[in-house]
Each structure stands twice: as structure tokens, then as C-alpha cells.
């Protein structure tokens, strides 16, 4: 029942992800991007950072790392796959999630705590939360501005695949509360099945009060719970 935290060259939030998951009682292990077999893991996290320097386009080169075939396979079998920040960008590039992430509206990196409102709970990220919950979580990205072609956007809106939207502390979703220009204030999405989810702000940075907030736990707890009921793909785990 171990969670794989994938490390690409240039990833930098891997230890933070392990730290937060461990606080929640999960077992988490770093997995180098050259690994091709993730069968023994009950869930996968693609953590934040700058995989392959984020050169060309964020996530573009990482998507071809050897590990990504196994990530795709795990996603197809219904295992929980969570992308945080750079992980979000990689999942989009890999086609596991719709849309893309581009430069922030103000063309500047943004590091600050923001608020997000929970929009749907049928996903591995939000299952422990309630629709309407307002969470305070640090955002930390240059390319956090979500876009999608109109038909994709309409589809994910209609399917309830938007998990989190940027809002103010009262839960109001408005332009003023949009820190990076993201379309429809989108801060997190999932695939249609709900087992692949990604979030732009960093829940692992909001898992302890001494660091300013523990609201991120409500998201990570859902993910950890999902890994416990995750479909098993090898005989050892199934026994």
C-alpha cells in the first residue's frame, strides 16, 4: 500500500509530498523517472517542481520520461493519480487530463496562500471534502493559468470535472479572486472517471498549522483514502 512519488530531473517538491503523506499515515516512496513498473504502488503522485527545467513547454519533455507509460497504464486501470502544480502540467501534456497551463496573466511567478472552493467531490482529491468548502492553500507557479479549447471546457464543466476554483476567503469566485488568470477560476480538475486529478496550489504545503494552514489535509486525506481502495494490478497486492 505504498504511494509512488515520481521524481523527474528538476522535480523539487518530492520530499515535501512524502513528508505530508507520511503525516497522514501513508507510506510514500520516491520513484525515479526511469522506472517503468509501478504495479506495486497503490497510488501515484506527480509532485511540483520544474521537470526537465520546464523547457520548451512546462511538462512537455517530462511527458516522455520512461515512467509515464506506467503512469498512463495505472490511470487506465483506475488507480489514483494525483498531479500537483508541475504534475498538473505534465498530466495535461500527457493527455491524461484535458487542457493546458500557460503563463500567469501578469507574467510573474506567484507564491502566496490563496483560497479555493470545492466544486465536486467525486474524485480522488476531493472525496474527503464537501462541496462549498473554502480551503486556504499556498499557490506557487509561473504557469498556473489553465486554458482549454471551448468544447473541452464545456465538457469538463458539464461533467463536474472541475474540482476546485480560486475564490476569496468567503468562497466568492470572482475575477478579483483569480490569482493567475485561469479560465473560469479553475484551480483543479479531474478526468471523467475521477481517478486522475490535478491541482495547481500545493496541498502538501498546507498540512501543518506551524506553516500557516492545514486545510490541504482535507484534500490529501481523500487521496490517501482512495489509494487504500485502489484497484490492484498485481497478485501480491491483491492477496
Amino acid at each position: 500500500m505504498t504511494i509512488a512519488v515520481v521524481v523527474f530531473p528538476g522535480t523539487n517538491c518530492e520530499h515535501d509530498a512524502v513528508h505530508a503523506l507520511t503525516l497522514l499515515g501513508a507510506d510514500a516512496e520516491l520513484v525515479w523517472h526511469r522506472e517503468t513498473d509501478l504495479d506495486d504502488f497503490s497510488g501515484i503522485v506527480l509532485p511540483g517542481g520544474f521537470a526537465h527545467g520546464d523547457y520548451l513547454r512546462t511538462g512537455a519533455i517530462a511527458r516522455f520520461s520512461p515512467v509515464m507509460a506506467a503512469v498512463t497504464e495505472a490511470a487506465d486501470t483506475g488507480k489514483p493519480v494525483l498531479g500537483i502544480c508541475n504534475g498538473f502540467q505534465i498530466l495535461c501534456e500527457a493527455g491524461l487530463l484535458p487542457g493546458a497551463l500557460i503563463a500567469n496573466r501578469d507574467l510573474a511567478f506567484v507564491c502566496k496562500p490563496i483560497h479555493v472552493r470545492v466544486e465536486s467531490t467525486d474524485t480522488i482529491l476531493t472525496s474527503a471534502a464537501t462541496v462549498g468548502d473554502v480551503l486556504r492553500i499556498p499557490l506557487n507557479s509561473y504557469e498556473g493559468n489553465y486554458i482549454a479549447p471551448p468544447q473541452d471546457l464545456a465538457a469538463i464543466e458539464a461533467n463536474g470535472q472541475i474540482t476546485l476554483r480560486y475564490c476569496d476567503e468567503n468562497g466568492d469566485v470572482s475575477d478579483l479572486a483569480n490569482p493567475n488568470g485561469s479560465t473560469n477560476n479553475i484551480a483543479g480538475i479531474s478526468n471523467a472517471r475521477g481517478n486522475v486529478a490535478a491541482v495547481m496550489p500545493h496541498p502538501e504545503r498546507a498540512a501543518e498549522l506551524i506553516l500557516g494552514s492545514d486545510d490541504g489535509r482535507r484534500l490529501l486525506e481523500g487521496f490517501v483514502a482512495a489509494t487504500k481502495t485502489s484497484p490492484q494490478t498485481n497478485s501480491v497486492a491483491a492477496s
Partner: protein, 727 residues
């Protein structure tokens, strides 16, 4: 008119005739071109500290907790329980003026290498920076570029930037200052030094390939003054690659973890020539180096170009022959180059071969140890006495509230979040107090320990009195870390000065060193490292004398709830902690911004009061006081406003004179406490806690000295920097 070819090579390289004669004497012959290039760079001001070396010995540098003092790549101090901290500060002033984004970025890259060269994982960066006023487009361009360079590199390399400072003055318009401080953490057994011991050991070059980056950059950019033509002699710009550095950090940390290297040295100024000679000299050895093995980025590079290249993101590891394959495998895993380029040999000779020829053959130690030392003349400027004798044209009465609004709009006083929002300051889950407070406070994960850092300088103050200014910045920095609950432990310093051939600049340098030293001695905190940046001069105008210090504070146990600016609540009481007085305005922001006048002698430090204030602040932080804030730029009025903005609550305070609102006399702080707080068990000696008023309401009210709505003041303070940048 002389053409370039008539000018002797050593002069073109910035060497004097005497220095050249010294080289000839060491070698016993005329130097080869590559040798001359090596001496010229290694003996430049930037690498050899030839004008400042004789004065740096003044700094106190010893304490029981110092593991590595000045001289190595970074200072190292003992935090107990096997933990060490490595710290260092560096300047990248001239490169940032030529190309702000890459100049600042490569400054971050360089300081990080100094840290992980010691075996430490770099965990935080600070960026004290200085520019000309923001009403000029060029200054805005430089400021913007430097901040995005630091953000771009620091964020991507995965090291959080936890603070810094910024000053704006005409004196920096043609010579911005970009200093970077870095901190690393390591366990005792991971400490690595740079001496190459063991005949037959192999020198392995790790990291990026070598191109024609910044050839001669160290000497040309850092040791020569600028004039309007410097655009023409721009050497090629060094481009930073944070991705390469990230891989290099992880690879090196793995090498240390597995005990695979004997010694390691980063490649900075003068690239391979500096790293090989220092590694050899520090171990009392020689080295044979084969330049053909060096992976190059461009075809047709000459030996001199490869030797002197300042391509970024490279390290030189000294490895026992049996470990070479393992080292190369680690390099391969992390997708960086790993190449054997040399062998450690008996005797002190450094021999460099390229394409079948010996291009250099010299005593390795001569490049550093035989570098010239100058005792340049120093002269106290007459004008400084006139300045001290003059008096500020103070009005009889002042509306403190409206004056405060003008001060809050000064970019050096205003909200700095436009800067630090662009920096990842939360990575590693260690940031307990983020930028925006007096000092940033970090926890060491898995322990109860905390570290606090503040960087401080004040060119305006030091220009008026470098001795007192030097001492005051140390006290301010120490007080900043104390309000988080940490005890000041050690200092790194960056001495940014003008042309040392100007005796008045030498005087400023010597006075500043004296002031810093006296304060450090009084506080019992050693200087464990530093950097000297001279020739900060353009068109014959020297910058303000600008020493910058970074103080590291330590606490074995973090306070349960460390004081924060945003923990004030309506009903809490505001006290001023300090000694008597508190109305002198010399070298204050009031004089600078409101009067635009320089007069009077800045108030001196008082070592007893200073120590007492720092000690008290540390104790109050652990006693649960919700807000502690040192009084610095802008005085009591600005310090109070900052608390009110962060806590989103107004205040009403009473002052005896309007001057007390703006005085910046040292060793004072504000404390916000719940009603009925018992001061008696904390105070003693020369310190008093003077009740000023209470928090509450929606205004900042100074009684008879005026009132302003909190939101209006807050808006001005918040928007001052972004508004000037057109955001």
C-alpha cells in the same frame, strides 16, 4: 593614438607592470599566454582581494561553534546534535548591470555552489539589492530584470528565497548592487573541504559543458569601473541554467552521501584555472590537467578560453582512482557530464596540457598565495565633518499622519511583496515566518530547532558615517532575528564599495569594517565569511559605501507561536522598548524623503543597550508576546503602521514629540501585548517598556499629531512599488 596591439598584453588584461614583473620572477621566464591570463584573473581584485585583504583580518572570526571560518567557500557553524549550517554571501553587481536577468540568475547559481561545495544542501537564499530611483525607466528595467532573474533561477533550481532587502538611491543608478546570501544544512559527517590530497587521485569535472561564457569576466566585470563605453567591451554574457544546477546539486549530494569524493571545488571566476589551482594549493599538492578531455560547447576553443571560461553549473571533484567509475555512474544517473580531466601529483606544480602542448606550468599556490597585497592610502573626507556639524532644517510642528503617508509611499519603506511573491518561499516545508517580517524563521524538520536570518545594509546611513553605520546594520540585523526568538550566532558580510584607489573610499571601507567588527565583538558573534566588491563606480561616481550583513540566529527550540506582525488584535497594548531619547533624525527616512537633506551625525550604537534589547527580544518571543517589531526605516510611525496593516486593525498612540514618530535611533522595538501583560519579570537594566497606546479602530491615530484612515495608508504602502512599475 595607440592601437590595441601596441599595448602590452598584461596591461590589456588589467595587470600593472609590477604585477607582471612578479609573475616573471615566480616563473623565472616570460609567461605563456594562458599563464598570463590565469595570473591576471587570479590576481584581480575580485579573486585576490588585494586591496581589502589586509583589513579583513580585523573581523572577529572565532567562536566555539565555528567549524569553518572565513577562507573556505562558505562558513560553517555547529547547531548541535550533529547539525551544521553553511552560509555565504556574494555580489553580482556588474554582471547584473550588463544583463540584469542573467546577471542575477548566475549570482544565485554561484552562491548555491559555494554552499553545496561544503557538503550542505542549500535550503534558502536572500537577496539584498539596490538600484537607482524607480522614476527612471532604466532603473525599473534593471530592478524588474534582477527580480525575475532571481525568481527564475531560484524557483527552478528548487531553493526558496526567504527574504532580502532593497534600497533605491541615485548613487546606485549606474551601478546597481545585487548581493545574494545562501544558507545550507548538513550533518557533521557530510562536511567536505576543497583540498586535493592523495597523489594519484583523479580530478573529475562535473556538470555543464564549457563554452565561451564570460571569458575574463571576473577581472573585467568585477574589478574595473564602468564608463559609458563599457557596452562595447561587453564580454559574452553568462547564461544560467537552473535545471543543470539542480541536477548538479542532487548528484553532488549523492556523492557526499556515499563518501565518493575526497574534496570538491566549485568553478566560479576564472573557471578551471581557479578551481584546479585552488584544489591543488589547498591540499599542498600539484595537478596535471588535460584540457582535451573537457567537454566543450563550441568548436575551436583555445586553451586560454577553456581555462578561463566561466560557464556556469560546473564542479571539480577530487576522487580516489577506485571510486572514479562510481562517480561517473552517479553523474550519468543525474544526466550531467562527468569527465576525468586531471591527476593529483606530488610537488606543487600545476601543469596544463592541450592538443599536445604544455600551455601552463606554474606553482599552483602562486596564483592565490603570491597575489599582490596593497595597503592603499586612506583619507577621511573633510566634507564628512562639515556634514556632521550641520543641523537638519526641522519644522516646529509636523502632522505625523500625513507625513507618514509620504514615507509609506517611499519604495524602500513600502510593501516588498511585489518582490517576494515572485519567489518560492515555502519549498521544503520549513518556512515558519515568511518574508514580510523582520527576519524569516525556518524550522529544521525532524527537530525542535529553528534558524532565523535577516540581511541588512543602509548605504544612505553608511555614507554619513561608515563606522557607526557599520555597527548599526549589525545591531539591526541581530535584533531582526531576535524578534523571532532566535539568538544571533554569526554573520556574513558583503562589502560593496567604490574605487579603492580613491583614498576616501578606502577610508569608508576601513571604517565600515571597524564598525561591523566592534558590533560583532560586543555581541559575541563571529564573521564566518564574506565578499568584497570594489570598483563600484561609474563615470567617476562612487556608490554609497554599502556594507551588507546577513545575521544567522539560532534557537534550540522554536517558540510555540513565534511573534508575527499579523498577530495584533483590537484591545492589545503597544509598548516601545528601548532606552531614553529617541528623537534624533540624522540619516533617517524623514531626512532623506521629506527634507531631502543630509545633516548631522547619525546616532551611535550603545553596546550595552544593544545587547540588552536583543536579549530581551529573544526572551519575549519565547514568552508568547504576539507581536515584536524592530524600529528601523521610518521610525515608530512606520513600524506601527506595518503591524496595523498586517493585523488589519487601527491604533491610537501618544508621543511626546513629533520627532519620536520618525527617529531611527538604534536598539528599539515595538511590542504588542495583551492587556495586563506583566513586564516586571522581563525588564531590567537600561531598558524600559514605554506604553504608547492601544490597537483598535479603523484609523492610525497619533493624537494631536494627526490621524489617517488605516485603509488609505495601507493602499499607499501596498501600491507604491507596483504602481511605479506600471502594474
Amino acid at each position: 593614438m595607440t592601437t590595441t596591439s601596441e599595448i602590452p598584453a598584461h596591461i590589456q588584461l588589467g595587470m600593472t607592470d609590477d604585477e607582471y614583473a612578479g609573475v616573471v620572477e615566480i616563473l623565472g621566464r616570460t609567461p605563456r599566454p594562458a599563464e598570463l591570463a590565469m595570473y591576471s584573473v587570479m590576481w584581480s581584485e575580485h579573486c585576490s582581494y588585494k586591496s581589502s585583504r589586509s583589513h579583513l583580518g580585523r573581523f572577529p572570526s572565532e567562536a566555539p561553534w565555528v567549524v569553518v571560518g572565513p577562507g573556505e567557500n562558505a562558513g560553517v557553524v555547529d547547531l548541535g546534535d550533529g547539525w551544521l549550517a553553511a552560509l555565504r554571501i556574494e555580489s553580482h553587481n556588474h554582471p547584473s548591470f550588463v544583463e540584469p536577468v542573467e546577471g542575477a540568475a548566475t549570482g544565485v547559481g554561484g552562491i548555491l555552489r559555494d554552499i553545496f561545495t561544503m557538503g550542505a544542501r542549500p535550503v534558502a537564499v536572500w537577496d539584498p539589492i539596490r538600484f537607482g530611483p524607480l522614476d527612471d525607466a532604466k532603473n525599473r528595467y534593471l530592478f524588474n530584470g534582477v527580480v525575475s532573474g532571481i525568481a527564475g533561477y531560484g524557483n527552478a533550481v528548487g531553493v526558496p528565497t526567504l527574504g532580502g532587502e532593497v534600497e533605491f538611491a541615485e548613487a546606485y543608478a549606474k551601478n546597481p548592487l545585487v548581493n545574494v546570501m545562501a544558507l545550507g544544512l548538513l550533518k557533521k559527517e557530510q562536511l567536505v573541504l576543497s583540498g586535493a590530497s592523495g597523489v594519484g587521485n583523479i580530478a573529475v569535472l562535473l556538470g555543464a559543458s564549457t563554452g565561451r561564457d564570460g571569458i575574463g569576466g571576473a577581472s573585467i566585470l568585477a574589478s574595473a569601473s564602468f564608463d559609458e563605453e563599457s557596452g562595447a567591451k561587453r564580454p559574452s554574457v553568462q547564461v544560467g541554467d537552473p535545471f543543470e544546477e539542480k541536477k548538479l546539486i542532487e548528484a553532488c549530494l549523492e556523492l557526499y552521501d556515499r563518501g565518493l569524493v575526497v574534496a570538491i571545488q566549485d568553478l566560479g571566476a576564472a573557471g578551471i584555472s581557479c578551481a584546479t589551482s585552488e584544489c591543488a594549493a589547498n591540499g599542498g599538492m600539484g595537478m596535471d590537467v588535460d584540457l582535451d578531455a573537457v567537454p566543450v560547447r563550441e568548436p575551436g576553443m583555445t586553451a586560454g578560453e577553456i581555462l578561463m571560461s566561466e560557464s556556469q553549473e560546473r564542479m571539480l571533484a577530487i576522487v580516489e582512482p577506485t571510486n572514479v567509475d562510481a562517480v561517473l555512474a552517479v553523474a550519468d544517473k543525474w544526466e550531467i557530464h562527468g569527465t576525468r580531466i586531471g591527476t593529483v601529483v606530488e610537488g606543487g606544480q600545476l601543469t596544463i596540457r592541450y592538443q599536445g602542448e604544455t600551455v601552463a606550468e606554474l606553482p599552483a599556490a602562486s596564483l592565490s598565495e603570491d597575489a599582490p597585497r596593497y595597503n592603499r592610502p586612506a583619507q577621511r573626507p573633510v566634507s564628512i565633518d562639515e556634514l556632521h556639524a550641520a543641523t537638519l532644517p526641522l519644522p516646529d510642528s509636523v502632522d505625523v499622519a500625513t507625513t507618514l503617508l509620504t514615507l509609506l509611499d517611499d519604495p524602500a519603506i513600502a510593501d516588498k511583496s511585489w518582490i517576494y511573491r515572485q519567489y518560492d518561499h515555502q519549498l521544503f516545508l520549513q518556512t515558519v515566518i515568511e518574508p514580510g517580517h523582520d527576519a524569516s524563521l525556518m524550522r529544521i524538520k525532524g527537530t525542535t530547532k529553528g534558524l532565523a536570518v535577516s540581511t541588512d545594509g543602509d548605504g544612505y546611513l553608511c555614507a554619513m558615517d561608515p563606522l557607526r553605520g557599520g555597527a548599526r546594520i549589525v545591531y539591526e540585523s541581530a535584533l531582526n532575528v531576535a524578534v523571532t526568538g532566535a539568538t544571533p550566532m554569526c554573520v556574513v558580510d558583503n562589502l560593496n564599495f567604490g574605487n579603492p584607489e580613491n583614498p576616501e573610499v578606502m577610508w569608508q571601507l576601513i571604517e565600515s569594517i571597524e564598525g561591523i567588527s566592534q558590533a560583532c565583538e560586543a555581541l559575541g558573534i563571529p564573521v564566518v565569511g564574506g565578499n568584497v566588491s570594489l570598483y563600484n563606480q561609474t563615470d567617476d561616481v562612487d556608490i554609497y559605501p554599502t556594507p551588507v550583513v546577513g545575521v544567522l540566529g539560532y534557537t534550540a527550540t522554536l517558540p510555540d507561536q513565534p511573534p508575527r506582525l499579523d498577530r495584533g488584535e483590537a484591545g492589545m497594548e503597544v509598548f516601545l522598548i528601548g532606552g531614553p531619547g529617541g528623537d534624533d533624525l540624522a540619516a533617517s527616512a524623514y531626512a532623506r524623503v521629506i527634507l531631502d537633506a543630509r545633516a548631522g551625525r547619525p546616532h551611535d550604537v550603545d553596546h550595552d543597550t544593544g545587547r540588552a534589547a536583543i536579549d530581551l527580544a529573544t526572551r519575549l518571543a519565547h514568552a508568547g508576546v504576539p507581536v515584536l517589531h524592530d524600529i528601523s526605516t521610518g521610525g515608530v510611525a512606520v513600524a506601527l503602521a506595518e503591524i496595523c496593516f498586517a493585523s488589519d486593525v487601527g491604533a491610537t498612540i501618544d508621543l511626546a514629540t513629533w520627532q519620536q514618530a520618525f527617529s531611527e535611533e538604534p536598539h528599539r522595538l515595538l511590542a504588542v501585548v495583551p492587556v495586563g501583560f506583566d513586564w516586571s519579570e522581563h525588564l531590567g537594566g537600561e531598558l524600559q517598556a514605554i506604553p504608547l497606546g492601544v490597537l483598535g479602530g479603523n484609523d492610525l491615530s497619533f493624537g494631536t499629531f494627526g490621524t489617517v484612515p488605516l485603509t488609505a495608508a495601507h493602499e499607499i504602502w501596498k501600491s507604491a512599488i507596483p504602481r511605479r512599475l506600471g502594474h
